[in-house]
């Protein structure tokens, strides 16, 4: 029975981003948003629509088209006491700012012996499945997670988006916040009211199971859950872990799960070579090899530069719930 007052509401991922940013701007004058088209247009996904009217163009800063300085200026703002949220319009455009993220933001605390810090967030939509072609579909996490000093968050559910974005904004260190653009309007869920944080670095078991551990993040968590539910109807039990943060990474939860199920499948949209799956596989091999009943397997993108615009190229690059279910079946039956 419906209740008159609710302590939560149903939002999709993009609404969760918008609500969280809005609250952050309301609560803290130090928070400013800067990026291309974030002002009058309200970002290409309308995330910051009308923010400039309410908070002013001093806080919602439409920047020139210059990604290196969008991040670099945010670094300077953060060093000088503001809490900037820099937006890169699409993750594919982040490359010009690579040095500012990797060489500057991530190293400021370290190189100054803790005297200067960079409490800032870099938000960017990433990922494919939206006919985004070569330059609007990329996954960038593996290019950045090699870097100590930087945190990388990739939430998949609206409640996680809010809790983790709040944590990223509150965080005393730079956080790269990756939002899968296909999940923006596709994924809806209950989001608690009020301010709450989900600690960065804690993964979440989205479905418990006993015969196989699947670790994934982003859009693919949703597809992995779909596949796992399919397997359940076939009498197999699969545990699905949503990584949520790729750095720091929740080693404890992964090992705990693998020691229970004795099998590990890592699924991600990014290329297989040198991807997140490689790190997780190596870690599990180092820590829990003799707890395993099957070789570790990775289901990831083929080793090509990007997915193409043409549908068959996109489909061939990306995985699917059906491909995931096949991989899971093979693993359970091994």
């Amino acid at each position: 029975m419906a209740v008159a007052t609710s302590s939560s509401k149903v939002l999709n991922n993009v609404e969760a981003v918008r609500d969280t940013l809005y609250e952050a701007l309301k609560n803290d004058d130090r928070v400013v948003i800067l990026g291309e088209d974030v002002g009058a247009r309200g970002n290409v996904f309308l995330i910051t629509k009308d923010f400039a009217k309410e908070f002013g163009t001093e806080r919602i800063i439409d920047t020139p088209i210059a990604e290196a300085s969008i991040v670099g200026i945010a670094v300077g703002m953060a060093m000088e006491g503001l809490r900037p949220i820099a937006e890169i319009q699409f993750a594919d455009f982040i490359y010009p700012s690579f040095n500012q993220i990797v060489g500057e933001a991530a190293k400021t605390r370290y190189r100054s012996n803790g005297e200067y810090t960079c409490p800032m967030v870099i938000r960017t939509p990433y990922g494919g499945g939206v006919r985004g072609a070569l330059s609007h579909s990329v996954s960038v996490e593996a290019l950045f997670y090699h870097v100590p000093g930087l945190k990388i968050v990739v939430p998949s559910f609206p409640a996680d988006v809010k809790g983790l974005l709040n944590a990223a904004i509150d965080d005393p260190d730079p956080v790269l916040f990756l939002e899968h653009k296909k999940t923006y309007r596709l994924i809806k869920g209950e989001v608690p009211d009020g301010h709450y944080v989900i600690p960065i670095g804690k993964a979440d078991v989205k479905k418990e199971g006993s015969q196989l551990t699947v670790v994934s993040y982003g859009l693919y968590v949703h597809w992995a859950l779909e596949a796992a539910n399919q397997l359940e109807s076939e009498g197999m039990s699969v545990e699905v872990i949503d990584l949520r943060s790729v750095r720091p990474m929740d080693r404890t939860l992964i090992l705990q799960s693998v020691r229970k199920t004795r099998k590990l499948l890592v699924i991600h949209e990014d290329n297989k070579f040198g991807g997140i799956g490689a790190e997780i596989s190596a870690m599990v091999a180092e820590e829990a090899l003799f707890d395993l009943d099957a070789p570790i397997r990775r289901l990831a993108a083929p080793d090509v530069p990007a997915m193409g615009y043409a549908m068959p190229l996109e489909e061939a690059y990306m995985s699917s719930p059906a491909k995931m279910a096949d991989a899971m079946r093979d693993m359970v039956k091994f």
């Binding site: 920047t63 670099g72 300077g76 060093m79 503001l82 040095n99 500057e104 190293k107 370290y110 012996n113």
Partner: protein, 342 residues
């Protein structure tokens, strides 16, 4: 006909500096050169692996430092700003801690020498990557403007080579759009390691680029601390009073090689360097102060002795300090303890 002392003194007065301030500029220049030389000596003695020189930049940096409001302004320097750093309040001991890479150094011995960071002095942390600090300075200037902290400004410095970097252009552009309280000060020493100005840019008058961004630009003699002071003071005052950014270009010359790891005679001649040394800003300024009667020969001698003593003391004290330990490697990765995957 040479000017009389009275005439020279009168010409000094137009800068609006007291005798004490003029002496401070001179002393900063002497100290900069002494510390510079010490770094190179220590390298040759095998005591430190690396040193960076700033000879030829003394006038520019001591003059600019005099236009910097301590406790108010913010400096975003680059790695050749020894004199500016002393001029805004770093001590010779702090400089030597940096050269010796001791644990008590501002950055804990992590960075190359001359990469200071000091919140106390208003000096922003920076890396060795050219132009990477320019947007940081712009971000800091934005923060000052956003918080309506009138009367404060950011001074950001760089060499001529840095003006070729994209982030320099992006930063100039953004600062002009938002009329930020910032002064871009180019220390044009003619060389970017071995690359001369003629191979660095098609428009060798760097200050002229200001017009393209929509801000004032000015060039001055970087061997003259007073011309520098005037230009930087005007620009900083304009920035502090809401007048927006300025691009300044001080023309000087790099007397030493890029660093102790560089042999400059592979790309330029000793004659070329010697020719420029005829304009060495130190004797030039010393003579000006002597001619005008601001300082006496005895005072000059005392200054030089004093600066050497200070450098010796700083050297000995810093050298006796401990190195960082292996445990320090793991500190300040993030806030709190960091336990990497083993």
């Amino acid at each position: 006909m040479a000017n009389t002392p009275t005439q020279t003194r009168k010409s000094l007065e137009r800068h609006g500096l007291s005798d004490e301030q003029l002496k401070t500029i001179f002393r900063t220049m002497l100290l900069q050169r002494q510390l510079d030389n010490r770094g190179f000596q220590l390298n040759r003695q095998g005591k430190v692996p690396f040193a960076l020189g700033s000879e030829g930049h003394e006038a520019l940096q001591a003059g600019a430092a005099m236009a910097f409001a301590r406790g108010k302004d913010i400096l975003a320097p680059y790695y050749r700003d020894l004199g500016l750093s002393i001029g805004i309040g770093l001590t010779p001991y702090e400089i030597m801690l940096s050269i010796f890479a001791r644990a008590a150094d501002h950055n804990g011995g992590r960075q190359f020498p001359n990469h200071y960071s000091s919140k106390r002095a208003g000096l922003m942390s920076f890396s060795s990557i050219l132009a990477a600090h320019i947007p940081h300075a712009v971000g800091a200037a934005y923060a000052l403007q956003y918080r309506k902290e009138n009367g404060r400004a950011v001074l950001v410095t760089f060499g001529d080579g840095t003006t070729s970097e994209g982030e320099w252009h992006e930063s100039m552009n953004f600062a002009a759009v938002h009329k930020l309280p910032i002064v871009f000060l180019c220390e044009n020493n003619q060389w970017a390691i071995s690359t001369p100005l003629s191979l660095q840019m098609g428009q060798p008058d760097i200050y002229k680029r200001a017009e393209g961004y929509g801000m004032p630009g000015e060039q001055f003699d970087g061997f003259d601390p007073l011309a520098t002071y005037d230009a930087v003071k005007r620009a900083m005052d304009r920035a502090r009073n809401g007048g927006g950014p300025t691009l300044l270009e001080g023309v000087c010359y790099r007397f030493l090689a890029h660093s102790t790891d560089d042999n400059d005679l592979t790309y330029r001649t000793r004659e070329d360097v010697d020719e420029h040394r005829k304009d060495d800003p130190l004797p030039r300024f010393e003579n000006l102060l002597l001619d005008s009667g601001v300082i006496t020969a005895d005072e000059v001698a005392a200054f030089k002795k004093d600066v050497l003593r200070e450098t010796n003391e700083a050297t000995d004290k810093a050298e006796a300090m401990p190195f960082p330990t292996a445990d320090d490697l793991y500190k300040h990765v993030y806030e709190g303890a960091w336990e990497p995957w083993q």
